[in-house]
Symmetry: D3
Subunit: 135 residues, 6 copies
């Protein structure tokens, strides 16, 4: 009897979609206004889903307080109010698209999870665009 | 060709997370302010998902009016404006965490469903915390 | 490493649930006020989910601009501000329930997708009623 | 010490923006796709605001149950699942724009209100378009 | 040139609508299921609005961090995860309706505000019921 | 009989709160992580409110299509996917706080409005922080 527990969090950041090995023209063609060299930004809404068996002692799959603190330490403290391209090492050589971000967030959380728990992550870049990843 | 039909509902209730066989100190350590002996409460948002084949006569998997009435009878009438610990028998001996609640709701609805339909339930305890269960 | 990319869109339309081969009484019994011969309408919220491998050149599964334009051409241009029963050929002989609509939308989008991508569609008829289909 | 009490409600309806005394061309020029002769429709979200002094016996400005029932009788029962142009007499000779609708709703509710209460009405035609009127 | 700055916060609590000087029957007649002696509860969404002139040095009317901390100290710490009737002294002799609550919250915040700032408070008891007060 | 018509729009941008004439330490003290020299960003939700008399010919206060296009030209085209400090001239010498932004947006729209119409603007910097200005 597995239950999925989900927690929403929020952070905001600046980013730019471009490749250093492409010309400005090619970056503009592929990424459009998202490649603006002066950066733009988003309010990211994050949902972390943890699936596992309920602990019969507590009625919890995972204590939401622990999950909330883990998201703060592993995601918010590293990305909130940051420039993803310039200040988050995972994106020094990787384009900070929502797709790449959701995998980076998953990989940051996974080592801290109970190995018997399944992890999935959903990331809203805007209210109309979002991505999901489950390993 | 299976389609999932989903219906949102709403109820509010008081609850307290604690175990009678634990001391107040242990309850406070494990459940924090959620173990407040005077109770606290939530507006619960419930989403019930029913998956099945479309009835070619009506174009429905299930008539939403029937699903709405079933949720009212089996969930809202039993839990809305109630104290879960004191007034809902399923929680006399079970901690009313969101995880335990979503299973209780699933078990209340399941016997009334078409056996060819798959059932899943999502329960929001707050806008930032939610749980899902599908049997 | 598959990621799901999702895009929300919006259209509004009039419709009526009824079968030409049923009497008005039977339509009223089965579909209630949804069979009103003068039509009623909804703001439909559509979410299109595309699952695939990230293109290492761009960091995209699919360019959101391309997905947005595809939804506009294949769904919004055909259904927005339309009477589904009278103006959308797929519903000349099919009841425009949300269930039938989500399949019609899936079938309209599918031929334009990369065959290696999985497609799923969610359609909100009202904020409390929605349906999902993934082929 | 005046407090404003607000209640949200929901209905859906079909409509068409056009004037009988204008040509189809002129209607198309002024109202665009909103003048589609086959109608289109919306999920309308309604918020009714009542401002007055708190009754010291009950702690209420107005009992929300009474306000909810009044909205049902005077607005939902008349407009929900209806064609505004064809079935709601106020719009036989008045274009059912959101602006005209919010005044019609205000005028329907006002005679039933305590004369010492101030009334205001907000009507969402879509999540992005809404109107407000306070007499 | 006055600007209004608004901050949303969240807390949840249990309450019961009843008067000690009324019989159970009268409480039931007036307050219905809201008078349940075992209490029920809500997720309250709070919006605090502060209107004033922009400080030309900072571009702020009020530092949002300061407003957020003030709401935490004066409202969340006193009401979150509490039983309003039993644990919040302002409601020992006052019915905790949303109307009375919004005034109590206003009065708790007002003494801490810059006297040149205007204060208004909106409180959502459920997604469909809310109240506002501005002194 | 004045009605207020409101239109929501959306843009995203990068910004940084700081004063060139202050030291990094002072900027950090006053603006905290919002003064990050590498910028951060937001999805801004904008609501433009126009109050006026209904045109009896059309039933409109203002054609929403015209209002939508005006917001696009005067706000979205200038700010969407931009760095406010570096690319929007109004903020070369003014801190792009939400308060200053809402006034800049009001001033950009006002000259294009019917002088008999009243204008108000609400700007959400995050789902929990927003500002309003009406001249």
């Amino acid at each position: 009897m597995k239950v999925t527990v989900s927690r929403k969090a929020h952070f905001n950041a600046a980013h730019r979609l471009y490749r250093k090995d492409w010309s400005d023209e090619k970056n503009q063609t592929i990424f459009g206004k998202c490649s603006n060299p002066h950066f733009h930004g988003h309010n990211y809404e994050l949902v972390v889903h943890v699936t596992g068996i309920i602990n019969p002692d507590t009625g919890y799959v995972i204590d939401m307080k622990i999950l909330k603190d883990l998201i703060k330490e592993e995601v918010e403290d590293k990305m909130d109010h940051k420039n993803l391209n310039e200040e988050v090492p995972e994106f020094y050589d990787k384009i900070p698209t929502a797709e790449n971000m959701v995998i980076v967030i998953y990989e940051a959380l996974k080592p801290h999870m109970n190995p018997e728990h399944e992890l999935a992550v959903t990331l809203y870049e805007t209210p109309r665009n979002f991505v999901s990843y489950s390993g």
